[in-house]
């Protein structure tokens, strides 16, 4: 992928119509380069989740433009009708809780995405094992999610998000349930994975522990984003 990881220009989202209309997002501007991890911070009701849902192609923005790499995916309308494939192949998700599929073992939780993309099972599992090794949970490959610690589960969730090598990962408060040490561990991993796989990662967070680790931060307030240079104290 050349140029930008993800670029958002003039994105807005309106709920309802007429007198009851609410503008959740107004003129959101945002760019994240490949290999970069940026923070998205804002108080409750500021539009973080709406923005994440728009970026994740699970709700329709009301207007604006979004590009992943050189490809415009939204320009006052989705460029592809197949949003499911867009989510599967171009966007990775990491949630507040890992939300692993409890009836699949760790390997298959990660391999599921390549399988859904049509890759043969052995190839998908090989890819999963490589990612699990990269995230230091390869030794738990055969375990069930319920047998993992919270930190291990979040690592598996990150591996799942990377499984189809998406150019963009959206992380929704990925460190919320973790203690400081584990939270910083997750951020360390996200930074390493971003660099290693040239992935643009947007981390939505309230977590004071990890905010200083971002080199760039987007504040979102009243539906508008404001860019700020972060301290960039990425953990070792």
């Amino acid at each position: 992928m050349n140029g930008l990881g993800i670029r958002i220009e003039g994105l807005h989202k309106r709920y309802g119509s007429g007198d009851t209309a609410v503008d959740a997002l107004k003129e959101v501007e945002m760019t994240v380069a490949p290999g970069e991890v940026v923070g998205l911070i804002g108080p409750s009701g500021s539009g973080k989740s709406t923005l994440l849902k728009c970026l994740g192609a699970v709700i329709d923005p009301s207007g604006g433009r979004m590009s992943i790499g050189d490809e415009v995916i939204y320009d006052d309308g989705w460029k592809t009708p197949d949003l499911r494939s867009l989510r599967r192949d171009r966007i990775g998700f990491v949630f507040q809780a890992p939300y692993l599929i409890p009836f699949l073992d760790v390997t298959d939780n990660v391999a599921l995405l390549p399988m859904l993309a049509g890759r043969p099972n052995p190839e998908a599992r090989q890819r999963a094992r490589e990612l699990l090794d990269a995230l230091d949970v390869g030794h738990r490959a055969g375990a069930r999610p319920s047998q993992l610690s919270g930190g291990e589960q979040q690592r598996v969730a990150i591996a799942r998000a990377l499984a189809n090598q998406p150019p963009v990962i959206l992380a929704d408060e990925p460190t919320a349930p973790l203690d400081s040490e584990r939270a910083l561990g997750v951020v360390r991993l996200l930074n390493r994975m971003a660099r290693q796989f040239r992935t643009a990662i947007i981390v939505v967070t309230h977590d004071e522990k990890i905010i200083p680790t971002f080199e760039r931060i987007y504040h979102i307030r009243d539906g508008r984003t404001y860019e700020e240079a972060g301290q960039g104290k990425a953990p070792d």
């Binding site: 709406t50 998700f93 599929i101 009836f103 298959d108 859904l116 069930r144």
Partner: protein
């Protein structure tokens, strides 16, 4: 692609198997109900087969001897033997009653027959046929009797000399075969007190006890107490003779009713057990509805327990048809487990039923298809719920 349904089932196999087991017992009851109906039809056919008759001659305007009471004079068979095309004819009586055996009694259909004639049980499991003129019996194995046992029918004791199989009435009561004369007495002869009473009443009747007519009273009393009736005459026609043509002659000239085998089967199956069949059909419908409700409830509950996982699956790009397929496969898996348990249970408990339960492979195959259809329909509720889940719910806020 891995089987999500299979993995989910393996993950919570104990709950799944236990649920399938419960459903299976219900399916087993359903299969057994169908088997009870099949058994009734088969019993009716066995009853007709084992009688060895081509025609059943009974009292005019009755559906006897199995469906309605029928009474014929016991010399009618001589007249029938004289008709062209009739090879053999024999009297039979049928009486369902309580038979004493030791301190207990059992319900049985007591059949009076003439040894060596139509109506005699053809196959014996143990012992021998009745050879004496009185007080010997051949019993169906379902009576629980054994050769050498003694049973009491009305005023007389009978020794069981043989056992037969699949000889039951249309009501499922096992048969006990005794000599015709004994059966006539059991069916038609009154008890001693009643005979004394009847004799006194006759003697008090001046029309029947006329002075100067010696022997009249005795003759009337003897006629009253004679057991000269039977319920039917079983007729075998000569080889090459159509039973219907012989039956038509009997109906036309002898003022009796004659049924061919097909007609008798129609009476037994379509008339005699029709109410039972409708009853069983109602049970089958209710059981099918209950099974569907159970499967729907279980699958729906299991789906509601996975809302978040389904939302995540949808968010990461799983097709709706993959999710629907997962739920459908689980419903069908439940159906397969239920059917296997049900079929096994029905096979195991069928012999214990007092009535013959005939589990036909065709019924099992139809039952399997019905179970699969029910499971498919039952899964639609859960599939609808799953497809309505918004993938956005996987993202907080």
């Amino acid at each position: 692609m891995i089987s999500l349904a299979g993995r989910d089932i393996l993950h919570s196999w104990s709950r799944f198997v236990l649920t399938g087991f419960g459903l299976g017992l219900l399916i087993g009851v359903t299969l057994t109900m169908a088997g009870v109906y099949r058994g009734m039809v088969d019993d009716a056919r066995a009853l007709l087969n084992n009688s060895g008759a081509d025609l059943w001659v009974v009292q005019k305007d009755t559906l006897g001897p199995y469906a309605e009471p029928s009474s014929l004079r016991d010399d009618v068979y001589r007249v029938l033997l004289g008709l062209p095309g009739v090879a053999r004819a024999a009297n039979v009586t049928y009486l369902t009653m309580q038979v004493r055996h030791g301190d207990s009694d059992l319900r049985a259909m007591v059949v009076g027959f003439e040894p060596g004639q139509p109506g005699q049980p053809e196959y014996l499991l143990a012992g021998r046929q009745v050879t004496r003129s009185h007080y010997e019996a051949v019993a169906d194995e379902k009576t629980g009797l054994r050769p050498g046992d003694t049973i009491r029918i009305r005023r007389h004791d009978f020794r069981v000399v043989g056992l037969t199989r699949r000889m039951v009435s249309s009501g499922g009561d096992p048969m006990i075969f005794i000599p015709l004369k004994d059966a006539q007495e059991a069916q038609f002869l009154k008890d001693n007190d009643a005979i004394l009473n009847e004799r006194a009443r006759t003697a008090a009747n001046p029309a029947l006890n006329r002075p100067g007519v010696p022997g009249l009273l005795e003759a009337v009393q003897a006629a009253q107490n004679a057991s000269r009736s039977v319920n039917a005459v079983l007729v075998q026609v000569a080889p090459g003779t159509p039973p219907e043509s012989v039956g038509a002659g009997i109906r036309r000239w002898k003022h009796l009713q004659a049924y061919t085998r097909d007609q008798m089967e129609e009476i037994l199956v379509a008339k005699l057990i029709a109410t039972s069949a409708r009853q069983i059909a109602m049970f089958l419908v209710i059981l099918a509805v209950v099974s569907a409700a159970i499967v729907a409830f279980i699958i729906y509950t299991m789906t509601l327990g996975k809302l978040r996982e389904i939302a995540v699956l949808k968010l990461i790009g799983t097709r709706n048809r993959t999710i629907a397929g997962m739920i459908l496969q689980q419903a069908l898996g439940l159906g397969v487990i239920g059917f296997l348990v049900g079929k096994t249970a029905a096979t195991l408990w069928a012999p214990v039923f007092p009535k013959y339960v005939l589990l036909e492979p065709g019924d099992a195959a139809r039952g399997f298809v019905v179970v699969m259809v029910i499971c498919t329909l039952a899964s639609t509720l859960a599939i609808r719920a799953a497809l309505r889940i918004d993938p956005a719910t996987a993202i907080g806020g």
